[in-house]
């Protein structure tokens, strides 16, 4: 069976002022179904850029990206929106929960893009919250939760519509060591017990140890592909 994610000779350039800066210089990468990949590298090396391309938030300047058998580098922005809704769950460094909504409502958001009824949405959100260990915080607003709890809610939101791929950009970047460990354990559990394929950017080698595979990006080029764990 083909890998879930295939990145082929992907380049990405940004125009800033008059000049064009190439941030990714022909990246090749395969991620198997059920893999848990940690993407590391110095600041500015292009980790977020690569992650956004895999997650369909942006389109590459050159090369091809296939996810689950579908070329996503050629999709229009409207098609990409629909594709993301169906296939990708995002986890961000600063959680990006909507402050006016309860944890439950935040988790339900992606389900508004499905054909589920309101009752089904509530049920699915409750299951996702229970999975991240926050069943008792469903009615809390984000500001009434700790950082670790907020990130758990964000993870529940990312998995609630059962996406093909979880994409996490420094999910522990804003958390203390102990809490970071709990979040990583949660992601590992989702990967091992629920078969979620995860691509995660991190600066933290301790966090990277939870992944099954570590990649290093330097100045826009993948320099190592260390299999491990």
């Amino acid at each position: 069976m083909a890998d879930l994610v295939q990145v082929r000779a992907v380049t990405k350039s940004y125009r800033r002022g008059g000049e064009t800066i190439e941030v990714l210089h022909g990246v090749d990468l395969d991620i198997a179904r059920g893999d848990f990949v940690a993407l590391m590298g110095p600041s500015g090396s292009g980790k977020t850029t690569l992650l956004n391309l895999i997650g369909g938030l942006d389109t590459p300047t050159g090369g091809a990206i296939v996810v689950d058998g579908r070329r996503i580098d050629r999709l229009s922005s409207g098609e990409l929106s629909a594709w993301r809704a169906a296939h990708v769950g995002f986890v961000f460094q600063f959680y990006n929960l909507l402050p006016v909504l309860s944890a439950q409502r935040n988790v339900e958001l992606p389900l508004l893009l499905t054909s589920l009824s309101a009752a089904e949405r509530r049920r699915h959100a409750a299951i996702a919250l229970a999975l991240v260990g926050l069943a008792d915080r469903a009615r809390h607003k984000p500001r009434e939760l700790s950082g670790g709890q907020e990130q758990r809610v964000a993870i529940a939101r990312a998995i609630v519509s059962d996406p093909t791929l979880l994409v996490c950009d420094e999910p522990t970047g804003d958390l203390d060591r102990a809490t970071a460990g709990e979040i990583m354990a949660l992601l590992q559990m989702l990967n091992r017990e629920h078969g979620k394929t995860i691509v995660m950017v991190t600066h933290d080698p301790k966090a990277a140890e939870y992944a099954s595979r570590r990649l290093h990006l330097d100045k826009g080029t993948l320099i190592a592909d260390g299999a491990g764990a």
């Binding site: 977020t48 938030l57 929106s81 629909a82 600063f94 402050p99 006016v100 893009l113």
Partner: protein
């Protein structure tokens, strides 16, 4: 959008999220609401003034009555009809008679007298109308609200209700002096809110000698046959008689013309002031919505990352702008209604150079127009920010934490 119902649910959800964060943006939102309330308040109250003025004049007179002026003049003050002509006119068969065969007609003279408004000292032009006994029979809308009618041949006046309210010294029993005549106020009359309520009435013969006039300005009469044919018969009879060079107009037509210049001026003024204010309010709304979007860009980008489309974002921003505008418009309309509707004002009618008292009329149509302006301002102020919100590059916005 493949599923319209889902699209609506998305719009509703995003709009709800936007509105829930309104309390954090109360300041700029209030600027929009207050700005639009100001535009609508001014627009509606100025137009209500024009509307009230027009209504007062337009409700003067009955279609079955005519006013006859010298050919070529379009207002009583510039007209002149001499005694012989009024006798000839009253005798025409096209004019109605009462039970004892007297013509239902009144030859009238109008002079301007100076009176200060209550609490002021500088004089204003107030119309003083000398009327013949027929005046009361033909104007069945007239009723005395206080005192009695003037007696014939005596220097007594009755005063229109609005004139009595606005000008000093017109209470029943008081005496008023003009150049060389003294008059006693013996009654107050109402004519259903029309222009005559701004006038002072006296016996035509007495007025004529007191003001040293030899002729009248006009003759008002009831048509024997109120139809178009009846009017045509009167016009034809006047045209056949070489001694009569007289123009005949139905009363409502005459008074509507009198309203023309000033009512148009007030309307133009209202629209002009409101348009300038509307430009200001539109920039206020633009500014508010731009800052609302700036403060929400991470939220919007997050929703887009999750898979929400651009269209629901545009629509929800527009809905927010329109809701703010609607609140402002309703507030402005309500203020205009509470403070202006029915409020009395008196102004110089440019057509007749006489004071006309009238009430502001805040009509449902004006309120509707005010709300339409509010929504237009909201739409103009919301559109560009809404489009910017939808175009926001998701990856850039996500970096803006």
């Amino acid at each position: 959008m493949r599923h319209p119902v889902r699209a609506l649910a998305q719009i509703a959800q995003i709009t709800l999220i936007n509105l829930r964060s309104l309390p954090q943006r109360l300041g700029t939102s209030l600027v929009v609401v207050v700005g639009i309330a100001g535009v609508v308040g001014v627009l509606v109250s100025v137009l209500a003034m024009g509307e009230g003025f027009r209504h007062t004049l337009a409700s003067t007179g009955r279609p079955g009555r005519v006013i006859m002026l010298r050919a070529g003049s379009d207002a009583e003050l510039s007209s002149g009809v001499d005694r012989d002509q009024t006798t000839l006119l009253a005798a025409l068969p096209a004019i109605a008679r009462d039970g004892s065969g007297r013509p239902l007609a009144s030859a009238e003279l109008v002079v301007m007298v100076d009176l200060p408004r209550k609490g002021e000292s500088h004089p204003n032009n107030v119309p003083f109308r000398g009327v013949q006994p027929g005046a009361f029979a033909i104007r069945d809308e007239l009723r005395l609200v206080e005192g009695r009618a003037f007696r014939r041949g005596v220097r007594e006046v009755i005063v229109g209700r609005k004139a009595a309210q606005q000008f000093a010294g017109l209470d029943v029993g008081s005496r008023i002096a003009f150049r060389d005549s003294d008059w006693t106020v013996v009654g107050t009359f109402a004519t259903g809110g029309d222009v005559h309520e701004s006038e002072i009435w006296a016996d035509a013969e007495v007025a004529m000698s007191a003001f040293r006039r030899t002729g009248y300005q006009s003759m008002t009469a009831t048509l024997a046959d109120g139809s178009q044919a009846g009017l045509a018969a009167l016009t034809a009879a006047i045209r056949r008689d070489p001694r009569l060079s007289i123009n005949v107009l139905r009363e409502p037509e005459y008074y509507a013309k009198q309203a023309g210049v000033l009512a148009r001026l007030i309307t133009v003024l209202g629209y002009t002031v409101a348009a300038f204010m509307a430009i200001g309010a539109t920039f206020g709304a633009l500014n508010c919505m731009y800052s609302a979007i700036a403060s929400r860009q991470v939220e919007i980008a997050t929703l887009r990352a999750i898979g929400f489309g651009g269209a629901p974002v545009v629509v929800s921003v527009m809905i927010e702008a329109l809701l703010l505008a609607l609140v402002g418009g309703a507030a402005g309309g309500a203020l205009a209604y509470v403070y202006c509707d029915g409020a009395s004002l008196s102004t110089l009618n440019f057509s007749t150079f006489s004071q006309v008292a009238f009430d502001f009329r805040v009509t449902p149509a004006l309120l509707g127009q005010g709300l339409a302006w509010a929504l237009l301002i909201g739409a103009a102020g919301g559109l560009l920010p809404a489009i910017r919100a939808a175009r926001l590059p998701v990856t850039t916005a996500l970096r803006a934490v």
